[in-house]
């Protein structure tokens, strides 16, 4: 029962919200209360066994198993932050009650999939999250939001299709829907098994893997801020969790998929930085940073796939990474909105700045932060695997890039603060609390809760190795890139945006298609009936039918057919008799 309560509590709240009065805090308060049972369950350290509800869906399995506890913790933490912020969040075109309902249903999906232990319920929660996520993305109903929502929905439907296809194949191969029985079976498959392709595409879309990411920088910024925080902080991790459930991490060494993950991961890490540097909108910059960070996580998974024994160290590092990124990114997204409520002259401005800089340098991996810890462990792991030198250089470059991206984000934020002057100390206070928690919690969890290998924090070499990319990155940004804003802007405007390119291609292709013979002009699509009609009523159709008609009018043709028919019947009759 505990499990069911934890997962479905947000849904119960969602059912209550419409009853509450509008323009009242109680509605949005429900959003903050939703993840509470989950948070209590994880933090109480209780170890309830896996729960099995026989008749629900195709047998519901809920439990912690290997990944559930951490993912539930992350999900609950991020949603709590966003929920608390949502209580005070107000903006134009924002309907708190409506928003909270979908916020809660989406939360139910996200919490559920974190602890679902069988493919069917995982998929059910995944779908719930994805489709209620659409409602969050389009909530502001601006043209930008509609465009983002459209791309989000198209990609989501494609992703859902690929996920369910991959899951069917997985369930069929393992003859079981339970994850703990599927993973050992996928470990025995060959690398080119379609299962892996489908799942990489399906979950890759959700996670924002390079090449499948282009919906993400549109959708994450378009949503109201609390929703952006959960989209970037928690929901993209659902894609990662899906990959972790199905790819045989730590069970067998798959050099092909390992290389793919590493390649896509590093590619995404750099692409995110470069694309982010060209953006102006702080939320879009953060979305690109998410693509970059998810790339690094994918890279980590790749190492676990390539060298199965490294996964023992890799998993706790990945856990730390997920918590670290989830919280920092959520705080930063919320900070984008919180920045609208300070006055530049007041002391609160410096508090806000501190609240933004801390998570930013944490992400960049400054000394004494969880970021530096992760980077150190990552390099440590790479030392043990082949091609260490190159990968190490690339990793250092990627931290440099992250530092530059964060510097870019901070400078853009700094410009933004100047134009607003509404002062809301209460909201700022809560946000600062979250920022403090977001920076310190990963450290605390890493030290006392997760099984992360400790490092010598105060050793000069370690401090230096994590300090230089941050300092150098910030230096490069402020003295080279920022000084030449024209260069950046021009590049940004000429940058080929995937979605725009696709739209352009469509606009180019569509008129051509409309003129082609296959297309029915009345509906603009392939119409087989129209084709058939053209064939039948066209000159050829007329000619052939007339020919047949004249042929049959001649008595000897008809007579011949008649005789053949008679003979056929006699033949059939004699066959029957014999």
């Amino acid at each position: 029962m505990t499990w069911l309560f934890v997962v479905f509590f947000p849904l119960i709240l969602a059912a209550v919200v419409p009853v509450l009065k509008k323009r009242n805090f109680s509605g949005s308060l429900a959003g903050a209360l939703g993840p509470l049972p989950a948070l209590v369950l994880v933090l109480s350290g209780a170890e309830p066994g896996t729960y099995h509800l026989e008749s629900f869906l195709l047998g519901l399995h809920l439990g912690f198993e290997e990944y559930g506890r951490l993912f539930l913790l992350l999900t609950a933490l991020v949603w709590t932050c966003a929920g608390i912020y949502g209580v005070w969040y107000r903006s134009a075109d924002y309907n708190p009650n409506n928003f909270t309902i979908f916020f809660l249903t989406c939360m139910c999906g996200n919490l559920g999939l974190a602890i679902a232990q069988d493919a069917v319920s995982f998929y059910a929660f995944f779908a719930l999250m994805t489709f209620s996520g659409y409602l969050l993305v389009v909530h502001h109903s601006t043209p930008k939001a509609w465009k983002a929502g459209k791309i989000y929905l198209i990609m989501a439907v494609l992703g859902e299709g690929a996920v369910v296809a991959g899951m069917m194949i997985g369930v069929h191969t393992a003859q079981s829907t339970v994850f703990s029985e599927i993973a050992p079976v996928t470990a025995t498959l060959s690398w080119h098994h379609p299962l892996f392709w489908f799942l990489l595409i399906g979950f890759g879309i959700k996670a924002g893997v390079l090449g499948l990411h282009f919906w993400l920088p549109l959708a994450h910024p378009a949503a109201p801020v609390p929703a952006s925080a959960v989209l970037s902080g928690a929901m993209i991790k659902a894609g990662l969790l899906g990959l972790m459930h199905f790819f045989p991490l730590g069970l067998v060494s798959f050099s092909f998929w390992g290389s793919v993950f590493i390649g896509l991961g590093l590619g995404g890490a750099f692409f995110g930085v470069l694309a982010g540097l060209l953006e102006k909108e702080p939320k879009t910059i953060l979305a690109y940073s998410s693509i970059s960070q998810i790339g690094l996580m994918l890279f980590l998974c790749g190492i676990g796939i390539i060298e199965a024994q490294l996964w023992i160290i890799g998993l706790p590092v990945l856990f730390l990474f997920i918590i670290h990124h989830g919280l920092a990114k959520a705080v930063l997204f919320l900070g984008v909105d919180a920045a609208g409520y300070v006055k530049k002259s007041r002391g609160s401005f410096y508090l806000l700045l501190a609240g933004l800089v801390l998570p930013a340098i944490t992400l960049a991996g400054a000394p004494f932060t969880s970021g530096s810890w992760i980077k150190y462990l990552l390099k440590d792991m790479v030392e043990l695997s082949p091609g260490a030198l190159w990968i190490n250089i690339l990793l250092s470059l990627s931290s440099l890039g992250t530092a530059m991206l964060m510097a870019h984000f901070l400078s853009r934020m700094h410009m933004k603060i100047a134009d607003k002057s509404l002062y809301r100390p209460g909201l700022l206070f809560f946000w600062l609390g979250m920022a403090a928690a977001g920076v310190s919690l990963p450290l605390i969890l890493g030290l006392f809760y997760l099984d992360v290998p400790a490092i010598a924090w105060i050793e000069p070499l370690i401090i230096w190795s994590s300090l230089w990319p941050v300092v150098f990155g910030a230096f490069v940004y402020f003295f080279f890139i920022l000084k030449k804003p024209l260069l950046g802007r021009q590049a940004a405007e000429n940058w080929p945006d995937t979605v725009t390119q696709m739209e352009k291609a469509w606009q180019k292709f569509y008129p051509r298609w409309e003129k082609s013979n296959l297309c029915d002009p009345s509906c603009g699509q392939i119409n087989f009936v129209y084709l058939a009609d053209r064939l039948i009523f066209g000159p050829a159709g007329l000619k052939v039918t007339c020919m047949i008609e004249t042929l049959f009018r001649q008595w000897f043709v008809a007579g011949l057919v008649f005789v053949i028919l008679i003979l056929l019947f006699i033949l059939m009759g004699s066959l029957r008799l014999s």
Binding site: E54, S55, L57, V120, V157, I169, V171, H172, D520, Q525
Partner: protein
């Protein structure tokens, strides 16, 4: 009283007698007519469920047989397969009757309508209960004739034209089916659905003939099951009133065809023998073409009911596809989709009817913002649409899941691709409707055709609500032994194809 004999007869008569009595009622006696209808339908629901209990739990065989001479029997028999179709038709008859009462309130010729409506249900009951091909054929043709007056109910030129179209298709289909059945009986003599392996015993020199007969039977049944290219009548028949379309698409005509195909594959040829003759692959191919083609055509429609009609063409073929795949899971999928497609599609038609009756909207582009005026209807439409796409927690997901697993089990991996493509197409033609219902702003003010306290009369809302809730519960509690899936598994196990 021998229940094993009388129950099937009573179940059949509950709708037959209701229909016949209603013809003699005056147009004004609507209270009497409604109560008669509801009593008949409720009685049938109770009787069918009691029969299901007796069959599945107590293991009783229900059979009523009358000799027609020459060794042919008129045989009513409740076996595992009939049960699903029976339960579907009885339950949905009840809700559709309620809906029809609300829908046709105050319109002309209601006695004729409800009379034929009940007869049509009686025919589909008969199809479910038929224990051999001859009995099946009698009811199959009876169904054709009883649905015709329903299709042309409005008596407009378009309706009459649609009716003519419908008759052309179904009568020719029926005659092809008749030739097939007669030919088969010439070879074998009288046989019942339970006599397994009759055809297998014929010897290998008859195999070519058997293949030919199979093609005839499928062609005959395929007209009603709307297999491409025999589907032409279905979108045209959309002109009928909404309850008729609902019944046509969910229970009676289309399902009768699909059910017939399942019967022929499992109980006449036997799935393994059909597979041995190489008949299943072509059947699967036809089903696949129908699934894709139906969806593509649905995408092009601008009329809501027409889009739903093409969606039916596509969705019903899942049943055929399930029967054509030689695997336990796909058999379960075929049986369970009989019910799932029924409850989901009837919900969609109820909602489309609600919108048309209340606001007078028929075209998809007119639906902008209807969610504000009719939130409940739009919620139910959304639920059913998501079910059709195959998103959990709505019933369609379970069907697709089992069908996909069945395809893999049968070694036909392309089924996954077909399912994916079909789901994408379903999403492509349902999501825009859902989107305009909820998110777009209405361009022109609506006409209010009917005033009521709720968004629509309760008789129009309640049936849709019931079926929508059923479609959600059918997925949420899918693993329960008495859910449609649970029953389908028991049925498949009873047929000896599911472990």
């Amino acid at each position: 009283m021998n229940l094993n004999f009388w129950l099937p007869v009573l179940v059949l008569c509950s709708s037959l007698a209701t229909g016949l009595i209603i013809f003699f009622l005056k147009e004004k006696q609507s209270a009497l007519r409604t109560s008669l209808n509801l009593i008949g339908a409720s009685f049938k629901v109770v009787a069918v469920h009691y029969m299901a209990y007796r069959l599945l739990v107590l293991g009783e065989i229900h059979e009523a047989s009358f000799s027609m001479g020459l060794g042919f029997d008129f045989l009513l028999r409740v076996d595992f397969l009939s049960l699903m179709f029976l339960a579907l038709s009885s339950n949905l008859w009840l809700v559709t009757t309620l809906y029809a009462v609300g829908y046709l309130e105050g319109s002309a010729n209601r006695s004729r309508f409800f009379g034929f409506f009940s007869l049509c249900v009686a025919a589909s009951t008969g199809i479910a209960l038929a224990g051999n091909l001859i009995t099946f054929f009698i009811f199959y043709e009876f169904l054709t004739l009883t649905t015709y007056p329903l299709v042309i109910h409005r008596e407009s030129t378009a309706a009459l034209e649609a009716g003519r179209n419908y008759l052309w298709y179904t009568i020719s289909g029926g005659s092809v089916l008749f030739v097939g059945i007669v030919w088969l009986h010439v070879l074998t003599g009288p046989f019942n659905f339970t006599d397994t392996g009759v055809l297998e015993a014929l010897g290998s020199d008859r195999h070519l003939t058997l293949i030919f007969i199979f093609a005839l039977l499928i062609m005959g049944l395929g007209v009603k099951a709307a297999l491409v290219p025999l589907h032409g009548w279905l979108p045209v028949a959309m002109i009928a009133p909404a309850p008729v379309s609902a019944l046509l698409h969910a229970v009676a005509v289309v399902k009768a065809g699909a059910f017939g195909i399942v019967r022929v594959v499992f109980d006449v040829y036997g799935q393994h023998f059909a597979g041995y003759l190489g008949l299943l692959e072509p059947l699967a191919l036809v089903a696949t073409i129908t699934i894709i083609f139906g969806s593509v055509r649905a995408l092009m429609q601008t009329d809501l009911k027409k889009r739903l009609a093409y969606s039916t063409v596509s969705q019903v073929s899942y049943i055929t596809l399930g029967a054509a795949l030689l695997a336990p899971f796909s058999t379960v999928a075929a049986i369970v989709h009989l019910a799932h497609q029924g409850i989901m599609k009837i919900t969609l038609f109820f909602c489309a009817g609600n919108i048309a009756e209340t606001l007078g909207l028929h075209k998809i582009r007119e639906l902008d913002g209807v969610g504000r005026r009719m939130p409940l209807t739009s919620v139910m439409f959304t639920v059913a649409a998501f079910g059709m796409i195959g998103v959990p927690p709505v019933a369609g997901f379970i069907s697709k899941w089992y069908l996909g697993l069945g395809g893999l089990e049968a070694g036909q991996n392309w089924v996954i691709g077909v399912l994916m493509l079909s789901s994408l197409l379903n999403a492509a033609y349902f999501l825009p409707i859902v989107h305009s219902l909820w998110f777009k702003k209405p361009e022109i003010p609506w006409k209010e055709l009917r005033k009521s306290r709720l968004e629509a009369p309760w008789t129009l809302l309640l049936p849709a609500l019931v079926t929508a809730v059923m479609s959600v519960l059918a997925c949420l509690w899918a693993d329960w032994i008495w859910s449609p899936l649970g029953v389908a598994r028991q049925i498949a196990a009873g047929m000896g194809v599911y472990p």
